[in-house]
Symmetry: C3
Subunit: 134 residues, 3 copies
């Protein structure tokens, strides 16, 4: 089963928790045991898994900004001033794959699914594929 | 097929090779052609693929520690003094997906599956999902 | 369906766009809805998703080289002088997973599949697994 939803980000850099949306699709899919792919078809955003805690979300953005600072003499900035966001997406990755066990996302207690926006505000698409046995 | 096993880590930072455990589950699954997801439901550990060589394992930990130093003024450290481990997990990722070909994990000669512990010692769960044609 | 192809890289560090090869395999697989795993069975190369733009490809290599500089006192270099390439592979990852929708790779407008060579020139294998409903 494949479904897609949209997220409208509000800032240039932002972490948006999307766990509930993904879980609704997993429930609806009828898949009992298998896996779920959560994918953004974008080159300046990413999907990661970690704890949904406001201060940690800030730490994540700060680390992304310090490893991939904006406007640090990138060649791509001659075309579009967002090379830093592309690089962050390359390193974080635009997808995660998670187990589905007993009809539910088998995430850990401290694991939420998060969209990392690095070139917002924009409308982002999130594609979820659920595969396995019904 | 879904199976899970546990790993008890012994240090704060540690790389534990888990290839054999994953291969046993792939063999048992009866899947001939498909893929295997190796996933840790944790926010301060990761799963990576690389060469099982002791000095390289040390280089990996050193690099993780230099990119994500402990106690470097993170906001999350006000709550729990392990923001560095969370950040490392965000960047390394808590999962890998590998091909299964002819009933075996199609890994390269120099590729082993490794659990990266960054907030141990702890008992870590590893969930393996094998999907494909029997 | 599983298929494999080879890429001969020409330099020590290089980004090679492989989208068309992956799309041919997806088309041939007959899978309408599901996912595709693109995997390199190598420990000194990686697979990433991002925009196929020459200056950005240069930025990606520059960032890889600045985060994982060659010969920076790594222990593994005592055995084989390519620890930097191993570390880059650990952080970038040797695989991507993408949705297949309506028989096609559901990639974004600015997303291409790229092999990142960090220890070339070499012949690299790329394994593609396509799973889902025909």
């Amino acid at each position: 089963m494949i479904e897609e939803f949209q997220i409208s980000t509000k800032s240039r850099e932002e972490v948006v928790v999307i766990t509930r949306r993904v879980e609704e699709i997993v429930a609806k899919s009828g898949v009992k045991n298998g896996l779920a792919l959560v994918y953004v078809p974008h080159a300046t955003a990413a999907v990661v898994l970690n704890e949904d805690e406001p201060r940690l979300r800030e730490d994540i953005l700060n680390k992304v900004k310090s490893l991939f600072p904006r406007g640090a003499g990138y060649r791509h900035d001659e075309i579009d001033h967002n090379a830093n966001a592309h690089l962050a997406s390359v390193f974080l990755g635009p997808f995660v794959v998670m187990p589905v066990v007993g009809g539910r996302l088998a995430r850990g207690t401290w694991q939420d699914v998060m969209l990392v926006e690095m070139d917002g505000p924009r409308t982002r698409r999130v594609v979820v594929v659920v595969l396995g046995q019904a």
